[in-house]
Symmetry: C2
Subunit: 357 residues, 2 copies
């Protein structure tokens, strides 16, 4: 055997560089342009050449270079989705709604996470915009000036989601958290609860939780009530924290007991519910409980928690639909506003009407 020949023939390894259209073109004997057309299903190509090209591409294992394609066509089928967190259970649901819609289009979601930090948001946004996406879906209406400027200047559809209490740069889809807080307060007042405690996250930058709280206290005030006590947490397992905070706040008010606990999310509310049940507290007789968000798993708890469905997947779907429409038709009007109605669930921890005397 001739080692030389061998090393040329059998051991021949194509240079380890990604394949290009040109490689497919040469392998199939079809011009680059036609190869491009086949691979994108654009323009008329005869069955024969089409097959030749497809065959060659498959054989070589060619994967088109979207970077080059995007640069040449100045079309990028990416939608930047910017959210505060993934570990929250709420944002994965929004993502699901978004994907449900985008999966039917050419568009693809790319996620950036801000950890509720405005400066992180600014950075993530800058990174994302530098890929020149076709649209942006971003959580919340509060952003740094620089972020707002970037979004406004990007010249692409921007949908701010989750919250509708404030001014949007372009489109917005969400619920009014202030109103959600008011509605819950109203239900609690109507049920005759008087000594109300609030339990939430120590997170000044969670604007939606803040707005719910504001709406809540506002409505209480109109009924001549105010929050009797409050307790905040940060970090750790929310379920455990819910238990701990509940114990703390109940013990602190033992002499003049609370009769309702409003939690800023369902996870801590669930912890509170488990605490109450473990300690033989009658819910909702002695004390009523309510959370916020309607996370799926509360259905499996010993008692169904009162909560409000935050319409997360609907929000995701609506936002994605707006982007898809605007991308498809660049002359479509901007500034869409979709305000969804969160659904109040009384569950089994909030009475529907006053306790009879």
């Amino acid at each position: 055997m001739e080692p030389m020949a061998m090393s040329q023939d059998q051991d021949f390894t194509p240079p380890k560089r990604p394949l290009t259209l040109r490689d497919v073109s040469e392998a199939s004997g079809v011009s680059e342009m036609t190869v491009s057309r086949v691979l994108r299903n654009r323009g008329d190509v005869s069955e024969t050449t089409r097959n030749k090209v497809l065959e060659a591409a498959r054989e070589l294992g060619y994967v088109p270079n979207k970077i080059a394609g995007a640069l040449a066509s100045s079309r990028v089928n990416l939608v930047a989705v910017i959210i505060p967190s993934l570990s929250n259970m709420v944002f994965p649901e929004v993502m699901t709604g978004i994907s449900d819609i985008l999966d039917e289009t050419e568009l693809q979601a790319v996620v950036g996470v801000t950890h509720y930090k405005p400066e992180r948001e600014e950075k993530v946004l800058y990174q994302m915009l530098s890929w020149r996406p076709s649209g942006v879906i971003i959580a919340g209406l509060e952003h740094t000036e620089a972020s707002k400027a970037m979004l406004a200047a990007a010249g692409i559809p921007v949908v701010e989601i989750m919250d509708t209490d404030g001014d949007a740069i372009d489109a917005k889809v969400g619920i009014s958290h202030r109103r959600a807080g008011r509605q819950m307060a109203q239900a609690i007042i109507e049920a005759g609860y008087k000594r109300i405690g609030f339990l939430g996250t120590k997170m000044p930058l969670d604007h939606r939780a803040r707005k719910r709280f504001e709406g809540f206290t506002e409505t209480l005030a109109k009924a001549g009530l105010e929050i009797a006590d409050q307790e905040f947490y940060s970090g750790g397992s929310a379920l455990v924290k819910g238990r701990e905070m509940t114990q703390t706040i109940l013990e602190r008010n033992a002499d003049e007991p609370l009769d309702f606990l409003y939690y800023s999310n369902d996870m801590i509310a669930s912890g509170g519910l488990l605490y109450c049940l473990d300690n033989g507290i009658d819910v909702p007789g002695d004390i009523g409980l309510a959370g916020f968000n309607g996370i799926e798993f509360i259905d499996g708890l010993p008692k169904k928690l009162a909560t409000m469905k935050a319409m997360r997947s609907e929000i995701g779907r609506a936002a994605a639909q707006i982007i898809a429409k605007r991308v498809a038709d660049s002359s479509a009007p901007r500034g869409e506003e979709i305000v969804l109605e969160p659904e109040l669930k009384f569950g089994e921890t909030l009475r529907r009407k006053k306790k009879p005397f």
Copy 2:
């Protein structure tokens, strides 16, 4: 004031197209090349020009075009992360581990979701690879032939995560699910349980759950035991399903009662635990329970569930570290294997030793 001058100066609207380096170059009177150097902090640039450029860029609101940059430099700071699901709580944790590491580098994770469907995985992978990422982190060792071929041909570091029971294309990081199943079986056997039920997802393509099951039954067999009954679910709230399945399997075996239930994840196990407690079943006296995954919130349940920590964030971190190292040093050896040890937690639902007679 001169209106003409005003409308030229203040009212002047730049054409609505994204800004380019050239715009910054013209605005600052510095060559495009030098502008590029300033913006990337590369090469020597005098303080004076540097400031001129930075000023102009800021003023215009210039956002670099990474598409063009990536094409010219053939460097893309993206890491494709391909996972089956986001709603699972497990993958967001892996993502967190990945981000923890990548945030210290130039690299950025881009997520693709497969919904446990091989053909979806193939498609997502193709999409991702067409952006020419610097590396791939992909869940599992089982992929279609085409997917494996793409990964092998991509010429970039590939880390397969979560599972180590099988052959990797390049690097792998995870735990041995087969071994995890064996260990749990061993603990159950040693505790003296005999009539064991299995409850899991109806998901033939969740290879990791399958391997745990195989390891589990294998070890039982060695001890002369076998699964007494099993029950599967799909869709719906896992906590609710856990309750329902538990009721079903317990009632079906009322005449010869089960004394242990092994669940394929902690969420259904939690539902089972709540069911048992609601119905006055003594856990772990009458019946022992164990799940898998160590989700954070089980700490808040009335009884701590026996489970196994699946080391998710550690897996994410290790995988990201491998990618980061290989990207930084392309001559680094490939094929890393990191097998992490899942931690068995007995909690309060699995006895540590035999019940005395």
